[in-house]
Amino acid sequence: MRININLARKLVFIYCLVCFVHQHSLSTILYVGEKEQFSGIKKALAASNNGDTIIITKGIYKEGNIVIDKSVCLLGRDMPVLDGELKYEILSIKKDSVTIKGLRLQNSGRSAMNDPGAIKIYNASYILIENNYLHNNFFGIFLQYATHCIIKNNTLKASQKEEYQSGNGIHCWKSDSLQVIGNRIYGHRDGIYFEFVTHSVIWRNIAHFNLRYGLHFMFSHQNAYITNYFKSNGAGVAVMFTKKVIMINNTFEENWGDAAYGVLFKELSDCYLSGNRFYRNTTGIFFDGSNRITAERNLFKSNGWGMRIQANCMDNKISRNNFMGNIFDVTTNGTLTLNEFSENYWDKYEGYDLDKDKIGDVPFHPLSLFSVIVERNPPAMLLFRSFMVSLMDKSEKIVPSLTPETFVDNKPCMVPHDI
């Protein structure tokens, strides 16, 4: 009996080993290039099986639309160029477990009818897109109904002048469990665009000088945005209709313009913001209809408005942030305030601290009279810095009458937080 069991074990092991080797012996490497075994990518794809690797050597490939309907690994050696000739979608991925690495994809077709992208994923999972350089495409990387995909260390550049001529850099639609890591996106319409994307992580991306938004998402719940950098995008970052978003350690910089925001929160709830930095934006954060958001340890520096909270927001906790060198720290458009401010550092605070606990003894009213006037009547900004306005602000600080009494930080910090 004992021998039999041992024998059975050995047989199973050998069988497994054989299977393993067998399978591996089936997966082959196909070379594409001028002097290689295949002259074109399409030919290599036709000859390949699931699990094969196709290595594309240096050269320019103009093969129109390439449909990948096998689980293959597409590797570029010395950045081969795949050109869409401004007519075709370059790579269409329609099968799970595909890897695209080290390619230069350029000049994808332009069409508002079917939104061609340099790489477009249709209903597929476990796709890895890594180390590619995408230049002058309509959409860069387009995912629809994709799950468990990784988009990593790609560089996307486009140079269209108008929004309608341009697609988004990384565009994801109805997807789940994505990882968007370390990409650089420049000159597209939106840098990163999510719609109905859940449980995803967006980490270490740089989106700058895009025509519209650096980051734009809607109905994309439970995502985390960590250490991203958004600079000088046409209208900053706008996020809408979403629950449970986490934003940590992102930087929003130089989004300056009439309708540009560091971040625009429209109908967002249950979110957590920490360690984010807002520099030189017209508006650092704009809250509109947003509830139960915790914002702590963020830095608002040299913005026009640090934060604008519309009166339709409630139960937001703004605590332990630094407000420095903003023209207006905070404004609101109503008299009712249902948000809580505590332990923030305000550089405009003029109170004192007798018991030396680093918390000011006098509550701080961050709302200046002029900011209330401007909120109600934006053209009044023309009077900014006039003597009369300074006088009004000073008198309001001494005897508050027009600004809402409840808009107050009861524990203003005397020294800036270490952020």
Binding site: D258, I327, N377, P379, L382, L383, F384, M388
Partner: protein
């Protein structure tokens, strides 16, 4: 005329008030630039000070000077000199010496610390502002013979331009907030030299994006070369018109 001018300038430059004014401006400007590490912020603080002090100083000093030199003027009138020449020389002398004070006090630190474009605009507009309020002072001092009354009128005019006018504009904003009055208000603001100066500098500092629609209108109107030309022409008109009125009166005045 040149002799009178020379005499007036030499007389004023020796004046202790002007020296004190220069030193005060210099202290404020060097102080704001030294205390604040952010240039645009210190520019804004300096703007506030200049908008308040330069008009006040110009208008008060000029008014008092004109009243104090009434005997000198009478003496000159008895000589074979044209009245317009006397008045012109007096005005030019006062303006030049106040402008020199402004240039030495605020101009040098502005050129040193801020970017050249903004500094040049602030220097040009500030010099014009000095001249404007000298012209206003001439007008108010010619209206009445009584020195106290004349100084009172000057102070009232200064108060009007630096404070009441803005109040009126704000009042208009609220009264007509339901109507598209931005363009009208923009034009209206151009009617006060102090406001015009302030907005010119603000446009330099990129604040216009925060002014919403009115800012866009203003940027479109004053932001380009033509706008600059127009606003400086307007500022020049603010010198010419009050001075011309005062000159007309002075020519016919029974001293």
């Amino acid at each position: 005329m040149r002799r009178i001018l020379k005499y007036v300038i030499l007389d004023i430059i020796k004046n202790k008030t002007i020296i004190a004014y220069t030193i005060m401006l210099a202290l404020f400007s060097w102080g704001t630039f030294a205390l604040e590490d952010n240039v645009s912020k210190s520019l804004l603080s300096l703007l506030n000070i200049i908008l308040l002090i330069v008009p006040l100083m110009s208008v008060l000093f000029a008014t008092i000077y004109v009243y104090n030199s009434s005997e000198f003027i009478e003496l000159l009138v008895s000589q074979p000199v044209k009245r317009s020449k006397i008045w012109n020389a007096l005005f030019t002398g006062l303006s030049i010496s106040l402008i020199i004070a402004y240039l030495v006090g605020a101009g040098i630190p502005l050129l040193l610390f801020s970017d050249t474009g903004t500094a040049l605009i602030m220097i040009a507009a500030g010099s014009l502002l000095s001249a404007i309020f000298v012209a206003v002072a001439f007008l108010s001092s010619i209206i009445t013979r009584d020195k106290a009354k004349g100084i009172g009128i000057s102070i009232m005019l200064w108060l009007y331009f630096s404070l009441l006018f803005d109040g009126l504009v704000l009042f208009l904003f609220f009264q007509f907030s339901d109507y598209p009055i931005e363009k009208i208000v923009v034009l209206l603001s151009a009617l006060s030299p102090v406001d015009l100066f302030r907005i010119l500098v603000l446009l330099q500092l990129d604040i216009s994006d925060m002014m919403g629609y009115a800012g866009a209108v203003f940027e479109k109107f004053f932001g380009n070369q033509w706008g600059l030309l127009i606003s400086f022409t307007l500022l020049a008109l603010w010198i010419i018109i009050p001075f011309y009125l005062s000159l007309k009166k002075f020519k016919k005045k029974n001293l």
